[in-house]
Symmetry: C2
Subunit: 322 residues, 2 copies
């Protein structure tokens, strides 16, 4: 059993670094979504971050905590999405070089976004895992620092939005968080439960990528089929540190089908006028699935990420016009 080392104190310490570059994000109530779900629904707008995702908080905390030597050696990571942009953003903010490995054929829009933030993007191998293993070796050879998806400083940093939720809505009853590798839900859970253990923390994954949920349920690493269209939820493996935190802190962990996630993207456009990518919209899909249990509750849905290709968006909004 992996020990849990992160505490709310780490999150408070991270906040001093995070707030040097970011402001708190809004927490807004939406009447239309509340009527759909049955409780009072608030969106925690992590999609209003500079790179559109909560992960930038973690990146900033991680880079701020590097030694001078580590900063000189540069950061190395693998990502096809928001993680890469967050590391690129944080590295640039601290004048550190970031090298990001992506598989050949990676989404050109995302590559451009990472390059636009000053990162060096290197194409390697046919898939994400190949790119990741390769860049780990490159980092070691070049004396740089490899950043994994659930490194503790990332959890401390992203936990700062959990603090913001508790400060702005101390009477929150339920917080629903999409789970990719788990840094977001773990930071949220530690922040929220340390202040009020009665807050329910619910994780959500796609039914087409249930690895974390299955591992959580069974209490051991489970590999499951992964076919989801929600890239931010598309993990094939579980991580010991986030699984340990989830096992201790999560009240529930639900699965929603990709079709419900796409419908949630559409509902967020209609009722909140926010573009949220599939992974980030899973929290609304879960709230709708759990509507019977949400009555009269104060529900916070964490929404994050806007990396949604225009052709996919086109299909999603057109689907609602049938």
């Amino acid at each position: 059993m992996t020990d849990i080392t992160t505490t709310i104190h780490d999150i408070y310490r991270a906040r001093t670094h995070v707030y040097q570059h970011l402001r708190p994000t809004p927490l807004f109530h939406y009447q239309g979504l509340s009527e759909l779900v049955g409780g009072r629904v608030f969106l925690k707008h992590e999609n209003h971050q500079p790179v559109g995702a909560f992960k930038v908080r973690g990146g900033l905390n991680l880079v701020a905590g590097l030694s001078k030597e580590q900063k000189l050696g540069g950061l190395f990571t693998a990502s096809t999405g928001n993680h890469g942009q967050s590391i690129a953003f944080a590295a640039r903010a601290h004048g550190v070089k970031a090298t990001i490995a992506v598989p050949e054929g990676a989404n050109p829009g995302k590559v451009a976004a990472m390059r636009g933030l000053g990162a060096e993007v290197v194409f390697h191998g046919p898939d994400f895992d190949t790119a990741r293993l390769w860049i780990t070796e490159v980092a070691e050879k070049q004396g740089g620092t490899f950043v994994g998806p659930t490194d503790e400083p990332l959890i401390h940093g992203v936990g700062t939005y959990g603090l913001e939720i508790m400060e702005e809505l101390p009477d929150v009853d339920v917080i629903i968080v999409p789970v990719g590798a788990g840094s977001g839900v773990c930071g949220t859970a530690i922040a929220a439960k340390s202040i009020n253990p009665a807050v329910q923390i619910i994780g959500v994954q796609s039914a087409q990528a249930p690895t974390q949920q299955q591992s959580w349920l069974q209490g051991r690493p489970v590999e499951a089929e992964m076919t989801t269209i929600a890239e931010g939820l598309a993990t094939r493996i579980s991580f010991a540190n986030t699984q340990a935190i989830m096992r201790k802190y999560l009240d529930d962990f639900v699965l929603v089908p990709d079709a419900a996630i796409e419908e949630a993207v559409r509902l967020l456009l209609i009722h909140s006028h926010n573009l949220v990518e599939e992974a980030g919209a899973a929290s609304l899909a879960a709230a709708i699935a759990l509507a019977g249990k949400m009555r009269d509750k104060n529900i916070v849905l964490v929404v994050s990420g806007g990396n949604i290709a225009i052709d996919r968006l086109s299909k999603i909004v057109a689907a609602g016009n049938r």
Copy 2:
């Protein structure tokens, strides 16, 4: 000639009221948009406000300045969009009743949004002007306060985002603002030019609704044909107070066709992952039209509003897949 009464001092005074309920909105740089326009492009994210639009700043300042008697008498206005939601939001924040007239057949989504914010919505007459004239009379009969679209306290309140731009990016060269009735561009211009008279302020309207632009060019009220799909720019008449401010402060006032505005909505989705309604996206359309003059400049585009019907959005995103 109408005297100009608003100064930057009014905007500073408004800010104490505005910041009791709102936080500053982000000003983010976007590499993709910068490459399209040729300068360094920043978006001022007024679309991240609670009702999705800058107008809420004006509403909050106006309501804060009412006397006790005026608060008891309630607010009356006419709107089919963001103005109505802003007044509803501000009224609720201060415990004041808001009654909003809309034409019969008004967009049900917008009516639901205003009701969701606690306003009483009354349907009256076949078009907006009929509803507006009627609610003016109702306000008078019932001893309430009618709120017009360019009331000075609204200009003071919305000017606070202009201050935020100057504080966060003191070396801004150009600010481009969509013009409906003109409160936004006037507040911005007074705030920005009072701090640095060299900042260029550029207004933009749809070529399918050029009333304000024509009136500004000719120095007298001009009525022009109005067929734009951009509801927030769809004004048929000019207003003496905003015209006087625009004549003094605006460096340019351009028209862009509706087709370019729709393309700008699509480009904002792709490059910034933000849903911005047509009126609010006109600033990007103008920057693209003026690209030759934008080289090496720091350009702030004010984006605001997310009131875009899903069927119209569907057409706009599909158009890009041709």
